[in-house]
């Protein structure tokens, strides 16, 4: 029995130590010695070319800052539903908080509506920061630029307003690990004023299923 335990511990240590992922094969025609570990499927990739995602750590618990109004929360939950219907499982759990959140690393996922925004980034409607270790996402935070942008829920009151649900769909896509894409997708980089783009497309659904089966 003792020797089995020693072997078990030994194997456990070996498994714990052997964590370097395997790269993809080289390509003689392109004179490449190695390639990405995985196909990207529209996801951000780490240094080994692995897709970063929450893996099985679902649903993702996200705190909502103290400045979240009912309108914002309704749009957010609608946006979350779009992704959950696309993949057929619960992906997000939201919890209101009295705190003011930032993107500083605090090991809590959060969404905040910022009334103060840096001049350098004034053209950005929102920024989603992701942190990961190996290929496992460990923290995600969304900041919405409410200083330089106005948002609408159902009907805009002016021509330079952004559709809130569409924005949340896009930013929640980033939280899931998706990067910007070209073509027909809710993850295309630019969300024009007034445009409603809230339904994940076939491409988006396929990408999501690549990682979250």
């Amino acid at each position: 029995m003792r020797s089995k335990l020693v072997w078990g511990l030994f194997i456990g240590i070996l498994v714990a130590c052997d964590r370097l992922p395997k790269l993809g094969p080289g390509n003689e025609g392109q004179n490449k010695l190695a390639s990405a570990a995985e196909e990207d499927c529209g996801f951000v990739q780490n240094s080994f070319g692995q897709r970063v995602s929450w893996k099985q750590s679902l649903p993702i618990k996200i705190f909502l800052g103290s400045e979240f109004t009912t309108d914002y929360e309704t749009s957010l939950r609608e946006a979350a539903k779009k992704w959950e219907e696309a993949v057929g499982r619960t992906l997000f759990v939201f919890e209101r908080s009295n705190q003011v959140f930032t993107t500083a690393r605090d090991y809590r996922n959060s969404i905040s509506i910022s009334q103060t925004w840096g001049e350098v980034d004034r053209t950005l409607q929102a920024v989603t920061s992701l942190t990961w270790y190996n290929s496992q996402l460990t923290e995600a935070d969304i900041r919405i630029n409410a200083q330089y942008f106005s948002f609408y829920v159902d009907k805009p009151s002016s021509t330079n307003e952004v559709h809130l649900t569409s924005l949340f769909v896009h930013e929640l896509g980033h939280i899931l690990g998706l990067k910007h894409l070209t073509g027909v997708s809710v993850m295309t980089e630019i969300l024009d004023y007034l445009l409603k783009r809230e339904l994940p497309t076939e491409q988006d659904r396929a990408h999501l299923k690549c990682e979250y089966n």
Partner: protein, 223 residues
């Protein structure tokens, strides 16, 4: 009672294995960076003479990458950090053997922030400068990156031109997708020598395959 004792030992074995794994999760990055810098410094010594002039074109395409990596050194000088790459011999247009910097006078390096992305984009730095030989010709001279105030500098002006050395050589540092937080760890994802016609380079995956680990540097801003 005996079964309970064995159960405790099994649990202890699992906890120890898990503890090893998760303690690495917390400390691996710092240790990995420190040990890699040390490994590179100690592995490269003595004369290197990578004469690739007689290789077939197929062997050359692998050989130059090995030569580049074999000369890797992390150089730290005060609040500046840089990398040297291995030089090797090639033939110039006249057929004479020359060091690679003579035929390919431009050096470019790309680094990406490790473990962080903003709106799906990983912060990226590209360094472009002259390919200059070290005094002994074995390596390239490093393009030194000044860490003090670098974040603010690149946020205000994503493309900065920096003067290097005493010959007035200049090189540029260009940044993309930088935001409020400065990423501490940066991974080299590409390096190349080039001239107006040709480029010899390797990407991050090839670097990992040759080094057997990620080439990540600590760019913590000095206080």
């Amino acid at each position: 009672m005996k079964k309970f004792k064995h159960f405790k030992l099994i649990v202890l074995a699992l906890v120890l294995s898990g503890g090893l794994y998760y303690s690495d999760l917390l400390f691996l990055q710092k240790r990995q960076v420190a040990s890699l810098e040390g490994t590179i410094r100690s592995a490269v010594s003595g004369d290197r003479n990578f004469d690739l002039t007689e290789l077939s074109s197929k062997d050359f395409m692998r050989g130059f990458k090995v030569a580049m990596v074999s000369g890797l050194q992390v150089v730290r000088d005060g609040h500046e950090v840089g990398l040297t790459w291995g030089q090797f011999l090639v033939r110039n247009q006249s057929g004479a053997k020359v060091y690679v910097c003579e035929k390919y006078p431009h050096l470019e390096m790309t680094l990406k922030a490790e473990g962080v992305a903003y709106s799906g984009n990983i912060p990226t730095i590209v360094l472009r400068g002259p390919c200059l030989s070290s005094d002994d010709g074995q390596r390239t001279r490093p393009l030194m990156i000044p860490l003090r105030g670098l974040h603010r500098l690149l946020r205000e002006n994503p493309k900065n031109i920096i003067k290097m050395g005493d010959r007035g050589d200049t090189y540029s540092i260009e940044a993309q997708s930088l935001y409020d937080e400065w990423p501490q760890y940066w991974t080299v994802v590409g390096a190349s020598f080039s001239n107006d016609i040709e480029t010899l380079g390797l990407d991050g995956f090839e670097l990992i395959s040759l080094l057997d680990q990620v080439l990540t540097l600590d760019f913590a801003e000095p206080q």
